[in-house]
């Protein structure tokens, strides 16, 4: 079933009886060539690219709950490629390019909106840092513009430019960045994968790995044993728990990050604004709600909910930047579990267990990476070699001293 304007018109005239479920609900087969553990953004994107780009056959995605029930459905939907380090930026720019074409490619409306992201500058030091970052972005083929105070004022005249502590002095703008409909991304990849013959098996929790002589043979699940030539794990916040079943300890801590949405307001924020100094960022959804967030709560957590002090802190940041929202009411607050790695950058790599591959450590930045994360993981699964843009994202880089530490914070996950 392909979506098109003609199809919408036809269904509208015939009572909408022709729409079918977007994917099948198959029973698990006894064995597959590839088993992907985790039916979130990363897992579905991996399965899609494995089938589409690398012509993989007999692929299954195993999901503990329902499809897209983890962080792909809980994030603040921002896509961008404004990283600094050579280990990261080419990867995120590759992801950005995939975002730009994904809807045509998988024939599904993911509402990708390149509305621009603006990182605010308050000091000379910050301007120098952002100029350097902008140059690094340009070198990797991304776009970046350094704006002065008046250019920022033209875009967002209602920001608080004369805050005593953090007066706005300019900003780094990436126009190609923006937002996407997060659920649409999961559904689009799921449907695309399903159409290519991938079995998406929901309510199927992996409870163990069958490993013999250092090689993985398959996975034990709540729906029985499933054999596999290769197993790829992409389970974000549950990474440590799942990989522990294969006897691995990871350079990862799980932390909770909260996100917020206000009541629906008239259009006011037409892009994404980040106020790093105040630990606050904001965009506006198409329904009108301000979607915003701040830092992680800062302690290990698997609870998918945070505590009030961070809510207060984020609200303070928002109010400092946009005093006009003082009377807007908060509609919802929720939390997701972040797989915070020890240097703040992700891992896409083989593991010491033959045939077992790991994709994780996305910290609070996995959503923007969804397309490239899946593409590069599929590349690794299919060819046993890392994709060119993900070749620094190794599992053993910590041991070897090749960390990718964007913030220079060291092995302290709650500071990344």
């Amino acid at each position: 079933m392909r979506f098109s304007g003609f199809r919408v018109l036809k269904e509208a005239l015939t009572g909408h009886h022709g729409w079918k479920p977007l994917w099948r609900n198959p029973e698990p087969q006894p064995a597959y060539d590839y088993v992907i553990v985790g039916g979130g953004g990363g897992g579905l994107s991996t399965a899609y690219h494995l089938a589409k780009v690398f012509q993989g056959k007999r692929i299954a995605v195993l999901e503990k709950g329902w499809l897209g029930s983890g962080n792909i459905g809980r994030n603040t939907t921002i896509i961008r490629s404004n990283y600094l380090l050579p280990g990261n930026e080419p990867f995120y720019e590759f992801s950005m390019k995939l975002w730009e074409n994904m809807e045509q490619e998988f024939n599904f409306n993911a509402m990708v909106s390149q509305r621009g992201i603006l990182n605010l500058i308050h000091t000379d030091g910050q301007r120098d840092a952002y100029r350097r970052r902008g140059n690094a972005m340009l070198l990797a083929g991304a776009d970046a513009e350094l704006l002065d105070r008046e250019q920022v004022r033209t875009m967002y005249p209602w920001l608080n430019f004369d805050n005593a502590r953090f007066p706005i002095k300019g900003g780094l703008l990436q126009r190609r960045a923006g937002t996407a409909r997060h659920d649409g991304v999961a559904w689009g990849y799921a449907r695309g994968a399903d159409l290519l013959g991938v079995d998406i098996i929901q309510n199927c929790e992996v409870t163990g790995f069958r490993i013999e002589a250092g090689k993985v043979l398959g996975v034990e699940t709540t729906r029985g044993y499933i054999g596999a030539k290769k197993v790829g794990v992409a389970v974000a916040g549950s990474s440590s728990r799942v990989m522990q079943m294969a006897g691995l300890r990871l350079p990862i801590e799980s932390h909770v990050l909260q996100a917020f949405v206000s009541e629906g307001l008239k259009p006011v924020v037409d892009g994404v604004i980040t106020f790093g100094a105040g630990h606050f960022y904001v965009s506006q959804s198409d329904k009108g709600g301000l979607v915003f967030g701040g830092d992680i709560d800062g302690y290990n957590s698997y609870a998918q909910r945070g505590n009030l002090p961070v809510i207060e802190e984020v609200a303070e940041g928002g109010l400092a930047l946009m005093p006009a929202i003082g009377r807007a009411r908060l509609l919802r607050v929720w939390g997701g579990i972040m797989d915070m790695s020890m240097d703040g950058s992700p891992i896409i790599d083989r593991t010491p267990v033959d045939g077992l591959y790991f994709n994780g450590g996305w910290c609070y930045g996995g959503f923007k990476a969804t397309p490239a994360s899946g593409y590069c993981f599929a590349h690794l699964l299919a060819t046993d070699r890392p994709h060119e843009t993900a070749r620094f994202m190794r599992l053993d880089r910590f041991e070897r001293g090749y960390v990718i530490d964007e913030k220079g914070m060291g092995a302290q996950p709650n500071l990344h």
Partner: protein, 96 residues
């Protein structure tokens, strides 16, 4: 979250900063055989359990003591707190 400080009674967790797993108290011997591997495990690898977790909190805006707090990462329930000093001394084989 309220942390039951062994000296000061219940204190708001906001007065503390968080470091991480209490295993960070066990710094490996840098001169021992296999020190490189031991330090890799010490600095970078974590158990990261879903459930009871022993972890280091620093009472930065209080009496500046380090605590080992036992907390459930699934519920955020705090089960107890000890002075990190006492824990470290006990691990070394009794107070000196």
């Amino acid at each position: 979250m309220l942390i039951p400080h062994p000296l000061l009674g219940p204190r708001d967790a906001q007065e503390f900063t968080y470091l991480g797993d209490a295993s960070l108290l066990n710094r490996p011997d840098g001169l021992a055989e296999g020190a490189l591997d031991a330090f890799n495990r010490h600095v970078y690898l974590r158990d990261n359990p879903a459930g009871v977790h022993r972890e280091l909190w620093f009472h930065e805006q209080g009496d500046r003591s380090w605590l080992v707090v036992t907390r459930n990462t699934l519920t955020h329930e705090i089960l107890g707190a000890e002075l990190a000093r006492d824990v470290a001394l006990a691990q070394k084989g009794g107070a000196k």
